[in-house]
Symmetry: C2
Subunit: 325 residues, 2 copies
């Protein structure tokens, strides 16, 4: 099947665009009504780097590609608008595979109220999915960058960490961790079907978060981005980090510390934020209303870099942290 | 060098964002002031499919990636706003190569008044550059889709065709066409440094064009898109198509008809538009004011598909045309 036929087949599956999309997929460009501010992020996932087809079916690849993009909107406190997809298709991914991948993107778009408004399909030596997401902020609405934290604030974290890294090890078949089926399935699902914290991001923005980032690269690396851009030092007590069920067992089977897995690897797509202590109860209650949890894991102090202490008192060495701290 | 260092090095080279960009590269997402309508297009170019590093230096790869995206904005009649780049970097493209590629993107952005506002860098088995461009339309400003042409209109074309296809053959070293240095350089440059017709697109939108497309896939395939979406038949006299100097000689050296090269292959990034005859002089004069040319190459009639006639009276067979007509 040619590139044009594939594009036509993909386009047929799309639902009708919502009213704000004046021209959707199928023209030179999409046209959308614009007001307030646009929030735009681009993320690509690449076979052999971010996933392997051995364990990630096409639908999961599509889901993860869009979820990672939407997670960036969550970290700004923005509402999802449109998504655009550039797909690189290798010769061994057939039409049903491409349609499955699109179905995964559509499923995540539908779940979070985003509209797939355009895209591009190319042949490629490796499978890649590059997703651009456009979010919206009403005129004057507050958004949160990585750079707004001051010294003397709390460092807070949504949800639990380590699940995506542990799930990856189970999917790669590296270990036998002796987990129950449900716990193992939840870990694999954390890797294959990540949930961007869009509602939580807006709640934290509304509750007065001063800086925010989504944990895509790992707590160590991502906290270092916030520290660098806010020009503060973040002192994090890794013992406070909530771990997803099963992470301890996977870490034990790998012979590593669970906290190094949880803080050193990314893709949990939880949110790390800074906020003044006086705003904590409001933020906690807003997150609880969404069925989530918010945990204080540290403080911002004058200085630079990140200090990540284990319960033993020693500093954890995690990926991305040494270079950035 | 790690991914973070490369991103930092790339970011350092960026000029300060213009006033409409509230948050530029370096946060979870960019934030831009929005008003009127946004026009968004995504295009990826992939090594081995759209270019080869044997003949395309990194700077040319960057230039072409952004130019192709901006050409989609031209075809809507939109003003360029921001560009976002997802870069897939293979192990044999080093840091200076990546910076050169970025310099190519920046050169084209500067030439057309676009701002590079964000991006993503991944390792990848093949080099790819996925570019998202966001254009602007003031509130109520006219834009042109592929679907607005009626029967009884003229089909018009900006500039000359065939140069990108002929330039590709010279770069691939397939032929010795015996061309003068200047003519050969202009053909190669048409392939390596395409010029999106942004001012021409806005002029045609202002002059009353009813449908418009940029010639990225080739006249045959692209005219078929307009015919399908406008629900008219386009009858094109290929003998009227202006050819770039040297295209005849390259075609002769390849043993093909020059018109098949000019109408069957893409990447010239000229604009094809439909407009009522009464608007022709206004459109021609607007394009002439920009130093360009506008040529009538056919008519729209009731029906469907594209008829592409050679001067001999026979129908040309060109890529993309059979499947789409």
């Amino acid at each position: 099947m040619g590139e044009f036929d594939l594009i036509a087949a993909l386009r047929e599956r799309l639902p009708a665009p919502p009213p704000g999309v004046l021209v959707g997929s199928g023209d030179d460009a999409a046209v959308t009504a614009a007001a307030g501010s646009s929030v735009v992020s681009v993320d690509a996932i690449v076979e052999g780097v971010h996933f392997r087809r051995r364990w990630a079916p096409p639908e999961a690849i599509g889901r993860k590609a869009l979820a990672a993009g939407l997670s960036d909107l969550a970290a700004m406190g923005a509402e999802p608008g449109e998504a655009y997809v550039a797909l690189g298709v290798p010769s061994d991914l057939d039409e049903p595979g491409c349609l499955e991948l699109l179905a995964g993107i559509e499923a995540v778009a539908g779940r979070y109220g985003a509209a797939l408004a355009g895209g591009d399909v190319s042949r490629s030596g490796v499978l890649f999915v590059s997703v651009t997401v456009v979010g919206r902020l009403a005129a004057g609405e507050r958004f949160v960058t990585r750079g707004g934290a001051g010294a003397g604030e709390l460092v807070v974290l949504t949800g639990e960490l380590g699940g995506a890294a542990a799930g990856l090890r189970l999917l790669e078949g590296e270990i036998e961790a002796g987990l129950g089926d449900e716990v193992a399935a939840a870990l694999r699902s954390r890797q294959l079907d990540p949930r961007p914290r869009l509602a939580e991001g807006r709640a934290l923005a509304g509750a007065g978060a001063t800086a925010m980032i989504d944990l895509s690269d790992g707590l160590g690396a991502d906290a270092a981005h916030v520290a660098a851009q806010s020009e503060v030092r973040l002192e994090i007590d890794a013992g406070q980090i909530p771990l997803q069920a099963g992470v301890e067992q996977v870490a034990a089977a790998l012979g590593v510390e669970a906290l190094e897995l949880a803080a050193g690897e990314g893709e949990d797509y939880e949110l790390l934020a800074c906020l003044p202590e006086g705003f904590l109860e409001r933020a906690r209650s807003a997150i609880a209303d969404l069925g989530g949890s918010l945990t204080v894991i540290g403080n911002s102090v004058p200085g630079e870099g990140v200090k990540l202490s284990a319960p033993s008192g020693r500093e954890l060495r995690v990926r991305g942290y040494d270079q950035l701290a």
